[in-house]
Every structure is written in structure tokens, then in C-alpha cells.
Symmetry: C2
Subunit: 248 residues, 2 copies
DNA sequence: CGCAATATTGACAAGCGTCAACTTCGGTGG
DNA sequence: CCACCGAAGTTGACGCTTGTCAATATTGCG
């Protein structure tokens, strides 16, 4: 992780907003105390790069608040987002020296960082942390597989509807609710970042957002806030079957 | 895992072809003996379904030989492959009751199966198995992220070249070699399965295979064997930068 | 040898990308 | 408080890549 990140004073794990969803979720009080002594908070401004593909990676981290994106680039500049990290998600790969992807703060971002080597030691010694990381990695793999379906088989309109559905579900999950009826969703991504997520151009994203608005599926409140008058309607536009699954 | 699979006699783990790559790779002799007493081999014919999305999943398994595919389907029938499991890959998700994807034998397939519940107990008690599974899951997540780039940003021609490159690398890895110069690769997939992997139609796959042949990038020896006169040429057609990485 | 499954090829159309002009937003400084 | 400016977003015209539908060829198996 590179410089320019503001470093903040350590705060108590007990009152941490991601206490029960992050990699430390299963830890007991005494284990938290151990983590607390070695963690470092880092804050990044929207748009700032957290680390470049190819950089040495000496840290792993949890996203405390904000949104980070992982992206991959081809030589000619074509860009694909390959990870969208929301609060409680884990960043970094134990056992890897060199970052495989570029990490960018999509919005203001707060990370809870650990030095990689000591964290790897914890993974070996603490089955609660190792088990939770395995579970989170399996969840991420499932999410990646849904993303494969989105990229490989969905139309531009379905892709947009799917992304809005995902964001609505994650936002609702933080409030321990199911999304339904009329809801508002924050869009922490620019049109270009949405395009990189969806394998589209930003022009196509813009056109399909306009089309969904014209058809009454969404309303725009500024550029970065979307109101969904009827959540079920959006889901049916996404091409997925209704429920959203009993997963997680 | 459903019926119709032939069940074979237990064979020694010591001489297993995937001994040093599978989930059991780090186990010691005595641990292998424990696994040996509970494993069951199952064999499936090409085209046979191993398990349907939504089925109860009471087993997990390692692919011993052959190829299995994981696929996801939309209500209207659009199909996307979301996993291609080759020898040593792990099948199933500890902690999940119900299969999320349909598993099909793409070629003749031999699985080394364990009942899920006892395997979950092993994960808790045996850090060698848990650690290896975490490592394999992280590798799969990386592979899925490369796949996202392929689906989101590559042309049909680049997609085909990428798939052939992946298969060549995996086949070479089994023989502990680096692919280079003139090599032959088995194609364990039909044109339709290739299309499902690549997010294309089978017609586009067929056309691009013909184009690569016309341009001298590949030669066809029957439908299911591809000769690559110059591996580097194929890689440059794939859109990836040369090396293929020091990964794994 | 014949049939069904698999693969190839062609003609055409649709969806999305490209290039370009224009508009809106949001923050800064006068 | 408002005017200005650059960044972000929208819209239009057009063309290319890939999908669709259909006919034909090839393969492998009984």
C-alpha cells in the first residue's frame, strides 16, 4: 500500500462497524485485543490509488467504510474491474508478495490494515481467523461466478439492473433489512467505473440509465443517488430469478 | 452427487496422480491413511450430469482425472460456464447444503469423493487440509478474475486464443513443463461448451477456430486435438502479456 | 452403412462501440 | 452569492462485431 494515505489513531474493535462481518468476526475479546495492538487505520480520498498491480504488497486490510475497486488492464488500455470491495470485505492475498491488481478508492475509503507477515502467522495459529477467511473467500468466489454470468450472457440493460440490485442488496444488508418496495441507493461509482464493472462503454451505461429512467424503473436524484420505485421491477429487469437466494 | 456414477474400489493415496496438487497435498502418511478409509471413487461418462443446481449436496470431491464443468443458467436458457475443473481441482463447497451450480462431466471423469459433514470436521481439526483448501480457493478466485477480463473486454478471437492457452498451460503443468514451441493440446470441450465458457455462440467459436487455422495460428487434428505450431504466437493472439506469470 | 450428434459456413440483423458535439454538475474563488 | 471552469454525463450518427436463422458438411457410433 502506497503513501499519501492519512493514518488515523487506533479505535476500539468492540465498537467497529464491521465487527461481525469482517475477517475478525469470530474472534473473542482477547484475540481482538491482540489484533487491536497491531492494526493501523488508513484513509484514502476518492479517486486515490491504494496500490498498483506489480507493487510489493506488505499489507492486508479490511474495508471499514467506503468502496474500493480492483482492476485489471490490458496493454492497450482496455480495463476490467475484477473486484468491488465494500465495508467488511477483505483486501490482499496472504502468501503473495506482489499485488496482482490495481486497487483504487472509488469513494472516500477507510482501511483497517495489518502487516502481511504477522497476519499470515495469525492464519496459521488462529483457526477462527483462518476459517472466517476461507468462508469469505468462498463467498467472493460465488460472487465472481455470478459476475461471470453477467459479463458473458446479459444484455446492457440487464447488466445495469443487476448492478443496481447488487448495490441495493449490500446497502440493505448493512441495515439488516431486505430490499423491497420503494428504496434509495447510493451510487459510489462514476459512469466509467460502472462501465468497467459491467464490461461496457460509459456511453452505453449512460444510455441504459436513461432508458431505465424513461421506463420508470429508476429515478435519478443527482448523479449519484438512485431511487427505485419498485424493487421487484428492477430485479425482474436484471434477468435473475426473484429471490436473490438464501445465501449468506 | 446423483446416481448412475460407477463406484470403484479404493486405491492408494500414495500413488494418486494428484497426490501433490489436490486438497490433500500437504497431508502426512497417517493423515492420508485416515482419508483413504473414507474416500469413495466415482466415475462418470462424458456428458453425464454429476449434480444439478438446487440439489442437496452431501459430497465434496477432488477431480482425479477428466474434466468437469460448472454452469449457471438463466430462465430463458442462456447458459454460462462458471467453472472448469481439471485434475486436482476441488468440487463442492464446505458449509453449503444445496448446490449452487450444475456440474457436468465434460469428458470421462473420475472423482475422489468425501461425505461433506465428516470433511467439514476435518477442516476444523486439520490445519494442513484447511490451509491447502484456502490456498486453492484463492487460486480459483484469481483464475475467475482473469476470466472476468476475458468475458468483459476480449474479442472473440482473443477469447479463443486465451482458452487454448489456458488448456495448454494446464496440460503442460501436469507434465511439469513450460509450454513452448510446437505443442499439441487436447480439447476436452465441444464447440458448445467452449461457447459457454467464452460467452459466445457456438457459431462464433467455430468461425474463429477456422480463422485461427486459416492464419496458421493453430492446426486441427480431428475436432478434439489442436496443434499449436508456435506457442508464443498463440499467446500474443490472446491479448495477455507474454509470460503467464510466476503464479503457482 | 446409415443415422444422429456435432461442426461448418453463409446471409442478414441487432446490439453495442466509436467518435463527436453538447449539457449538466459541483466546487472554487472573486 | 454568483459566475466560471473543468470534470462528468448525455445524446446522436454511424459502423463493426457478434448473434440469429438456416442450409450443408463431417464425424463417430451402432
Amino acid at each position: 500500500m502506497t503513501a499519501n494515505a492519512a493514518i488515523f489513531a487506533t479505535q476500539s474493535c468492540e465498537i467497529c462497524p464491521i465487527r461481525y462481518r469482517a475477517v475478525c468476526a469470530r474472534c473473542e475479546r482477547d484475540e481482538l485485543a491482540e489484533l487491536e495492538s497491531v492494526k493501523i487505520y488508513r484513509r484514502y480520498a476518492a479517486g486515490q490509488t491504494v496500490s498498483w498491480a506489480g507493487d510489493r504488497m506488505d499489507m492486508v486490510a479490511s474495508v471499514v467504510s467506503g468502496v474500493a475497486s480492483l482492476t485489471q488492464q490490458m496493454e492497450d488500455g482496455r480495463t476490467q474491474m475484477v473486484g468491488l470491495l465494500l465495508p467488511s470485505d477483505f483486501l490482499g492475498r496472504p502468501g503473495r508478495e506482489v499485488a496482482a491488481y490495481t486497487v483504487t478508492a472509488a469513494s472516500e475509503l477507510l482501511l483497517c490494515c495489518f502487516r502481511r507477515k504477522p497476519f499470515e502467522e495469525l492464519l496459521r495459529s488462529n483457526p477462527r481467523i483462518a476459517g472466517r477467511l476461507l468462508e469469505m473467500t468462498l463467498d467472493e468466489l460465488d460472487a465472481a461466478r455470478d459476475w461471470l454470468l453477467l459479463l458473458g450472457r446479459k444484455s446492457a440493460r440487464e447488466k445495469i439492473a443487476s448492478l443496481l440490485t447488487i448495490l441495493a442488496r449490500r446497502e440493505a444488508a448493512l441495515n439488516l433489512r431486505q430490499p423491497e418496495g420503494r428504496i434509495a441507493v447510493d451510487l459510489p461509482l462514476t459512469r466509467e467505473a460502472m462501465a468497467d464493472y459491467l464490461g461496457l462503454t460509459l456511453e452505453t451505461v449512460s444510455r441504459q440509465m436513461s432508458a431505465l429512467k424513461r421506463d420508470g424503473v429508476i429515478e435519478l436524484d443527482g448523479k449519484r443517488r438512485v431511487v427505485i420505485p419498485l424493487f421487484g421491477r428492477l430485479v425482474s429487469e436484471s434477468g435473475d430469478d426473484a429471490d436473490g437466494g438464501p445465501l449468506s
